[in-house]
Amino acid sequence: MRYRVLTAALAATAALQFACPANAADLEVIHWWTSKGESAAVSQFAKALDNDGHGDKWVDSAIALGETARSTVMQRVLGGDPPAAAQFNPGRQYEELISGGKLLDLTDIATAGKWDQVIRPKAIGSACLVDGHWWCVPVNIHSNYWAWYSKPVFAKAGVPEPKSLADFIAAAPKIKEAGLIPFAIGGDGNGWQIQLLFQDMVTEALGVAKRDEMYTKKSAEIAGGPEMKGVFTQLRTLKQFTDNGYANRNWNDTTNLVITGKAGLQVMGDWARGEFAAAGMTGVKDFGCMIGLNEAKPVVSTDGDIIVFFKQNNPDVEAAQKRLAALLISPEVQVAFNNAKGSMPVRGDVDMSTADPCMQKSLKAVEDPANIVTATNRFITENTNQQLNELVAQFFADDSMTADDATAKFATIIGNSD
């Protein structure tokens, strides 16, 4: 009798142990969400997976700087030890991972979750839907077309708050006279922040249609045209309004200059909003946001982040990966993540009434397809992207390089891009 109870108890514990975590898995996720606002956002993903009721565990691999994180992922894949999941920007960064058969096909859970219907606008889904298969999960929509400014700085300099980049350039000398940095920018990671600014200016100068034509047709003619020379000239103008500590500064330290009222304005994607939120600021009285480089012509780009899942040759892990994929796009997780991150959710059927005034602007703009700008990453490979980074960063750093020279080099890169 005594033994029978003991055996039953043992059997029960053994069964319990196998029943629950038999198919649980630890999932390592590599991402570059390392700033204060970003880590608050990514912890929402981790919390959701840890509490999914299957005993799965989020193993966080945060690597600062996008290009470093992406190259780490690629080296892990080449070495045959890919992480369970990894962050990329929607576009061509992971096209070789798809064609090389490295990614887990998510089509079955996408069909079950009706991703093709809930994800809006369609351009967001198309980054993951390749040849009828879903290869990744879009988790947010970020727009690169934003400028953030400090209201106290403009008040102190006695200039009106800007409604366009031209307004700002007109006001900048006054801010400089007031002993503040008019224009905040950083040159880390091969100059990606400068290229972000540059791409915003390109769209503004060429207009969406001509810009898309330049990238899709690889038109050296448009790329070498007078509008582009104007962009480079304006970029040189902006440079004189920066401080000389920009060279190695990362984007969130740059945002911090605006947050602390040391600098006037920063052009950066809406992930910067997460930094203001993490600093306890709202977009009503402390800081202002300018959508696009001209409030009269609001634009929203289809940038953002996607998560890919790598094939693992272990059915338990793959089941857990699919559970995570479904969680990432579920309405509750989307709201919690995007509110912390400063981005828009990828689905239109969620309640964003808690969003701040800046996000309300973009939620309004995204309704009109004419305001939507395709992300530059959709057109160009990482190779071309880095060449553009280098060109723009070199032009920004080296005052002896003329706008004509830079325009000619830009045309060569676009003409030779693949």
Binding site: E67, N190, D243, E390, A397
Partner: protein
């Protein structure tokens, strides 16, 4: 000349060097072979065998950043090797004056070499950052017009790298040259003194030529260090501002890992191998000729 094969190759010696031979063949020869092979292909992220001839080399030499990198390595190499040898020799002479606390000084001068360049590079970056380091400190002390920020200016950043390179490399040059100096027989100094030759003249005309071996060792070490300079640049400037301090090794790693362009990266790596091969071939030729002359003499 009648030595048999067995005399030339001692069995234990052969067995002892087998691991080294395996590593050399496996890592270097095969690795270099694949680099060369892939430099003729259109490999992007994943290596492929789609041969495109010299297309990658043409793209490489048309790439602005590669040209800047090549210019930089020449400038950095010539400046830092020349200064390292001069400073290293002067330091060695100074240390050879039978000074007190010699061990302490030697440790201080060798310390930069013993530490990781990533750490020291970061410290240099902080010291030279206009908002954190020397400039900010001087301005806080009241010298508000003080301006010293070489790393953030595209024209001066390379000089800051050279200075950091000298700071790092002159200590080890000193150690090697000091060993060479100590190897010079005391009697030679005495003889020179008896003959009334000034000290500097003894150094230049007698002692330095006797230290040929030590100079060659220090020089080769410096050259190898220059060709593969990577961590110093990454820690101090990341290749910037813009691309002003990009170096070939930084370029190769960037192409392969970030730009997902293995073919062109391998072409750049192969180009980096060329000067090394030229130096090796030259020294091989010199050795071979010397040997022939010796054989002719006997």
């Amino acid at each position: 000349m009648q030595r048999s094969w067995r005399h030339r190759f001692h069995l234990p010696a052969v067995i002892g060097t087998i691991p080294m031979i395996l590593v050399a063949v496996g890592v270097f020869v095969i690795g270099i072979g694949f680099s060369l092979l892939w430099s003729f292909t259109s490999s992007k992220l994943f290596p492929s065998y789609d041969f495109v001839g010299l297309a990658q080399y043409r793209r490489l030499w048309a790439d602005n950043r590669w040209l800047v990198s090549v210019n930089n390595i020449w400038f950095f190499g010539l400046m830092s090797i020349a200064c390292n040898m001069v400073f290293g020799y002067l330091l060695a002479v100074f240390m050879d004056q039978r000074i007190r606390q010699e061990d302490l000084f030697r440790s201080i001068f060798l310390y930069p070499f013993a530490m990781s360049l990533i750490v020291t590079g970061l410290v240099w970056q902080w010291v030279l950052d206009p908002n954190l380091g020397l400039q900010a400190a001087m301005r806080n002390l009241g010298w508000s017009s003080f301006s010293f920020a070489p790393l953030v200016d595209a024209n001066t950043a390379i000089y800051a790298l050279v200075v950091a390179g000298i700071w790092q490399g002159s200590g080890v040059t000193m150690a090697i040259l000091l060993a060479g100096l100590r190897g010079v027989d005391e009697e030679i100094w005495k003889a020179a003194r008896v003959d009334g030759i000034p000290t500097w003249r003894t150094h230049v005309s007698i002692v330095a030529p006797m230290m040929k071996g030590a100079f060659a060792t220090a020089f080769v070490l410096q050259c190898v260090g220059v060709v593969r300079v990577y961590d110093l640049v990454i820690a101090m400037t990341g290749g910037g501002p813009g691309i002003a301090t990009s170096m070939p090794a930084v370029y190769v790693i960037q192409l392969i890992t970030v730009r997902q362009n293995v073919g062109q990266g391998m072409a750049a790596a192969t180009m980096m191998l060329v000067p090394v091969l030229v130096v090796l071939a030259f020294s091989g030729l010199v050795l071979w000729r010397r040997k022939r002359r010796q054989e002719a003499a006997t």
